[in-house]
């Protein structure tokens, strides 16, 4: 049985990481808090399943991811993953060179105006990622979790993780471009 002090310490130590992950999956503040609470509860109820081979944070990310999937599966639908790959391939000609070169450069003033809005657009675009894409991208870029640990959390092979990140980044890029954002 875990003591009250241990519960407090657990919450103190891991809430920020879990809230960040929940936000990246585009849950609002209330939903994120509920998701984090459900994650802690699931850990406390099934703590005996935790094996100290992995870090506790990694284990908690795994629980949060599964809880998030359950929630999002009920409310979201996503276009097929093949569509992202097709869209990526459509940018290249038969010689594998860019068919439609990217956007024009911006002036410094335009960049400043743009940068204030682009974060907002990125948040909207993150909502278009599947939960596995958003989670993999966040664990990699924000939490700095190693690829092997991400594979363990998301139950992916290293090759599948590469494909997932490839799709996440290209989907975000396409989405930002479709919204008229000039990224650099």
């Amino acid at each position: 049985m875990i003591s009250a002090e241990e519960i407090k310490s657990l919450i103190e130590r891991y809430t920020a990481n879990l809230m960040r992950a929940a936000f990246s999956l585009n849950f609002d503040e209330n939903e994120a808090e509920e998701l984090v609470q459900a994650t802690f509860c699931a850990y406390l109820e099934g703590g005996s399943r935790y094996q100290k081979r992995s870090q506790l944070l990694t284990y908690l990310f795994g629980i949060l991811y599964n809880k998030a999937r359950e929630t999002r599966r009920r409310r979201d639908r996503h276009p097929s993953l093949e569509a992202i790959d097709e869209k990526f391939d459509s940018h290249f000609d038969a010689e594998e060179h860019w068919d439609q070169p990217s956007m024009d450069s911006m002036t410094e003033v335009e960049k400043q105006v743009q940068s204030s809005a682009i974060g907002h657009l990125l948040k909207e675009c993150l909502d278009g990622l599947t939960e596995i894409m958003a989670m993999a991208f966040t664990l990699k870029e924000v939490e700095g979790i190693s690829s092997s640990q991400i594979c363990a959390i998301l139950r992916l092979t290293p090759s599948n993780l590469g494909v997932t990140l490839f799709r996440a980044r290209n989907k975000l890029r396409e989405c930002l471009m479709n919204k008229g954002a000039v990224i650099v």
């Binding site: 407090k8 960040r20 994120a32 060179h97 974060g119 490839f166 930002l176 990224i183 650099v184």
Partner: protein, 90 residues
């Protein structure tokens, strides 16, 4: 095929796939890496794509850092979580 042709043997699509994937090694060792960076130097479109992907990564990190400052302060969230969980398991 001259050495120069060989060094420029990487296609834009292969370059872009490697940039966005980021996990799988290019294969072919240091010569392939040299091809990658030669291509980066000579192809403005790929250089732009490379910058865009890096910027998307950076933006995501910045946006996530903002999540450290939710409308409800983190200590309040922690307190609520602690109260709720202790109530449930006491």
């Amino acid at each position: 095929m001259s050495l120069l042709d060989s060094l420029m043997g990487m296609t834009c699509q292969r370059f872009a796939r490697h940039v966005a994937n980021g996990e799988e090694p290019l294969g072919g060792g240091s010569y392939r890496r040299l091809q990658f960076w030669v291509h980066w130097t000579i192809c403005p479109f790929c250089k732009r794509y490379w910058k865009e992907i890096r910027e998307i990564n950076r933006l995501h990190r910045s946006m996530s850092a903002l999540a450290n400052h939710p409308a409800v302060p983190l200590p309040v969230i922690k307190r609520r979580l602690t109260e709720g969980i202790l109530k449930r398991y006491s």
